[in-house]
Amino acid sequence: MKDFFKVSPLKILEGPAHKGLGKGNLGVLMAGAGLGKTSCLIDIALDRLFRGGKLVHVSLKDPPEKITSYYNVIFSDLVTVLGAENEHEVRDLIERNRIILAYLNESFDLARLRENLNNLANEIDFVPESLIVDGIDFAQAKPELFEGFKRIAEDLQAEAWFSALTHQPLAEADEGGTSVAWNGVDAFFSVIIRLYSTESGVFLKLVKHHDSEQISEAVLRLDPDNFLVIG
């Protein structure tokens, strides 16, 4: 799956002045409703898994069966597009290195997540290098929530990637490509990526990158079917 890195959405973070999200940091992928946030987020998760790291997928909405089936469908699409001689081994790698923690019917709270992560570390020696967090309602979320996530990411020395639904004021605010004011929580995020569509296709744009004031103007064009980079 080496070819994957050439088309991974995280390619947006490549470049001479750029580095990845980095340990202990939070990153967010934001997009409007129905654009494919979860699929793109799973591409990011696969990027992390293919680099050999352990990953915990935290779902605040969907049950594990649904998340697993998202991964399966997206992975199958990848195999169709990129081909994989060792498909079984790669599937095995994904399953061995990914654990899904789902919080159904508003069962989520930070203390519970922390306890679950402690159980993974202490009972089965599973310490993730990446967290994928899907289903947080950014419109309602308080800064304390992200402060808590930031602490968890720092404690684990893990990268944490979130998905967020773009709200109208935010969409307008980030037209210029600068950092956005966002319920006062954008400060917790080291990287903000925006997924958007126009008449000419689906694109990925870097909105915030650590403390860098000069962000690459590059925009990546994505295949709307699988959210892999096509240009």
């Binding site: 594990p64 069966e65 697993t68 399953e95 061995r96 159904l104 019917n105 009972e123 089965i124």
Partner: protein
């Protein structure tokens, strides 16, 4: 009465163990006047519920063997199959689903959607069974039907729509509010047989109005007419039923009812729901395969005057001989008719035809498409298709999982040996996941199945129903051997020991196969091996697959290609080429990187959340791969893949780790390579057994 196929419902009742399926069935039979007294599962009166007709089921309070029963409700003929809730009896559930047109999915208002409910739901999806849901046990402490509705939506992905709301909960649960008629319904009389409608109690009115709006909104997605009626405020009950029915039949909507079968509340409205929302036999597309047209799929009509097609889906031993349960898909059947078994092409005559009522029966003279009936005196296997001879079709084969566990069985005396033979013959005909064979070398009888409990139940039945005194060995895992890479062979079998000699040479290669268990490819060119000896070579290789060379277990997923060889005009024979193939297999097998595969189970453990760590540790200790953990309220469900070999007796440590508050289910997931350390251990044990002559 009820002669129209539109008024027939073939339904199942399936759910998690202890969700109350059998109690519900018992109440349905009581309200439809098929029985005149109510007995409980594990009841104190020692009679037991009607559908639990085997002694063992009554004793354990679980439903093992699905019995069919018939009843009538408001002019509708309803055939009910009660299905087992334990995953080890999944074949029973699968078989029931095969012949059903719809199902009542019973969920516990306290336990909610549990792991077994997920398994059963998956099975129902596989057979495209529309269902209505009943949230049972609303009278129990901790009952929270709204949480269960959320679980239906989020864990099982159902578009669950409340058709009722409860009047009170737990000890205050006294009736339901029907959101279609907007009436309260109470159940009076000794066993709730008198259904009394009434006005909605004021404290529940606002909630009822809000939930009705939700229901109408969901139903209107399936009916423009209803949508318009909502806008013009002219909604009629019939319009709602029609829209909900449309949504249910397309499996895009699941109507949800509330009740407590035990407290006799809410059962009759569920029967109304079956009538209103579940399909008639002619509303379900049934496919068969035409044996005369290369198994081309054909759709059956469900018309009684078309050629007969029916399926034997269950066999039972009764004092009157073998009872075969038949589902008639097309055509009609009457006493004295001739039937043809598609598999054997044998003709049989319809003798005694009965309608089943748990362990009692009613003689009938005819039956037609859509009916489920019993037939006596038919020699057949479960899964056989019968026609009237005008068609040569077979119902598409059922999904039958491979057994994953086995144990040895020894009769204690000669008499028991005969009885055991009879029992095994019976059970293997009844249940395709239960198998038995005699090991050629040890002479031991070996039975195999889907889990410890599965085999345990058959051993018990053997003792109780057949009077066979048998002892059993420890349950063992059904390992498999396979190869990891391609390996060449070129083997000559040559023997000259006086008399006719033996000569045969075969060359080619073994390689792993993704398709099935065994493939044989003949690429011999130019007559290097005469054509008549090719089947013997195939036979020789197949004989080697029965017992692998690593640990003596079957070899699977092997492709054999023979591309060269040699023969002798006098000394070559079928026997010589069988031996040549055996030699070739032995020559290539170890070069092909043979590995041992073990069954891996998908294990789901549900416990209060504080035990999540303990549960994970216990699974990890058993070589389990933790896949996920889902928190829902105060419960956590941990899912893992664990080798079956590590799961024997898991219930005991799990109990002690969770103060008895956890439960687990498991089902076969896949075969996976065993770790090297275990492989070495298994090889050593095999060598040891071989030395002692017991391998």
């Amino acid at each position: 009465m009820a002669d129209d196929i539109q008024n027939v419902r073939n339904i199942g009742i399936s759910a998690h163990i202890d969700a109350g399926k059998t109690t519900l069935t018992e109440r349905i039979l009581y309200y439809t006047k098929r029985i005149f007294a109510v007995h409980e599962v594990k009841g104190k009166d020692g009679v037991g519920a009607k559908m639990d007709s085997m002694d063992l089921e009554k004793e354990r309070g679980i439903t093992i063997s699905s019995a069919a029963t018939y009843c009538e409700w408001k002019g509708y003929k309803v055939n009910i199959i009660d299905t087992p809730g334990h995953v080890d009896f999944t074949i029973e559930v699968e078989r029931a689903l095969r012949v059903l047109d719809g199902s009542i999915m019973v969920l516990c208002a306290v336990g909610g959607v549990q792991s077994q409910s997920i398994t059963v739901d998956r099975q129902m999806n596989r057979y495209k069974v529309p269902r209505v849901a009943l949230i049972n046990k609303c009278d129990r402490a901790g009952a929270n039907p709204y949480r269960v509705v959320d679980q239906l939506r989020h864990r099982l992905n159902h578009n669950a729509v409340l058709m009722q709301i409860p009047i009170g909960l737990e000890k205050d649960f006294s009736g339901v509010i029907d959101l279609v008629s907007m009436k309260a319904i109470y159940f009076e009389g000794l066993f709730g047989e008198e259904v009394k409608p009434g006005e909605i109690p004021p404290p529940f009115l606002d909630e009822a109005v809000a939930k009705r709006e939700e229901m109408l909104e969901a139903a209107a997605m399936f009916s423009d007419e209803l949508m318009e009626a909502i806008f013009s405020d002219t909604v009629k009950e019939a319009l709602i039923h029609e829209a909900v029915r449309k949504g249910t039949l397309s499996r895009q909507l699941t109507p949800v009812f509330m009740g407590s079968a035990y407290k006799n509340i809410g059962v009759q409205p569920v029967l109304d729901g079956v009538m209103y929302y579940l399909p008639a036999p002619n509303e379900v597309e049934i496919a068969a395969v035409d044996m005369d047209r290369k198994e081309k799929e054909v759709t059956l009509s469900s018309r009684p005057d078309d050629p007969l097609v029916c399926l034997a889906f269950k066999l039972e031993v009764t004092p009157y001989g073998q009872l075969t349960y038949l589902r008639i898909y097309q055509g009609a059947i009457k006493k004295g008719d001739d039937l043809v078994n598609t598999r054997t092409r044998k003709k049989i005559k319809v003798g005694r035809l009965v309608r089943m009522h748990a362990d009692e029966m009613e003689d009938i003279s005819k039956a037609r498409a859509g009916d489920i009936v019993g037939l006596f005196g038919v020699d057949c296997f479960s899964g056989d298709t019968f026609t009237d001879g005008r068609l040569n079709v077979s119902m598409s084969s059922m999904f039958v999982p491979e057994p994953v566990i086995f144990l040895t069985l020894s009769p204690e005396d000669n008499q028991s040996s005969v009885k055991m033979g009879k029992a095994l013959n019976r059970f293997t005909r009844e249940d395709p996941t239960f198998r038995s064979h005699v090991d050629r070398e040890s002479g031991e009888t070996i039975i195999s199945g889907m889990g410890e409990l599965h085999l345990e139940i058959y051993v018990e039945r053997m003792k109780r129903e057949f009077g066979a005194a048998v002892s059993t060995g420890m349950p063992q895992v059904a390992y498999r051997e396979t190869i990891a890479r391609r390996a060449e062979f070129n083997y000559t079998h040559k023997k000259q020991t006086g008399g006719a000699g033996q000569y045969g040479r075969v060359a080619g290669y073994l390689e792993p196969s993704d398709e099935g268990t065994y493939e044989f490819i003949n690429q011999v060119k130019g007559g290097a091996i005469p054509t008549e000896f090719i089947p013997a070579i195939d036979k020789g290789f197949q004989s080697c697959l029965k017992k692998g060379l690593l640990i003596g277990f079957p070899v699977t997923r092997v492709k054999v290609t023979v591309n060269d060889g040699n023969s002798h005009p006098v000394d070559s024979s079928e026997r010589a080429f069988v031996q040549a193939a055996v030699g070739a297999f032995k020559q290539a097998y170890f070069k092909a990187g043979p590995v041992i595969m073990e069954p891996v189970m998908k294990v789901s453990v549900e416990s209060p959340s504080e035990f999540q760590g303990n549960v994970m540790a216990s699974l990890n200790k058993r070589r389990g791969l933790i896949m996920s953990s889902a928190e829902d309220g105060v419960f956590t469900t941990v899912e893992a893949e664990v080798p079956l070999a590590e799961m024997f007796g898991y219930a005991t440590p799990l109990r002690s780790l969770t103060q008895g508050k956890a439960e687990f289910t498991m089902e076969f997931s896949r075969y996976a390579k065993v770790p090297e350390s275990i492989e070495e251990e298994l090889k050593l044990k095999y060598k040891d057994r071989a030395k002692r002559g017991t391998a």
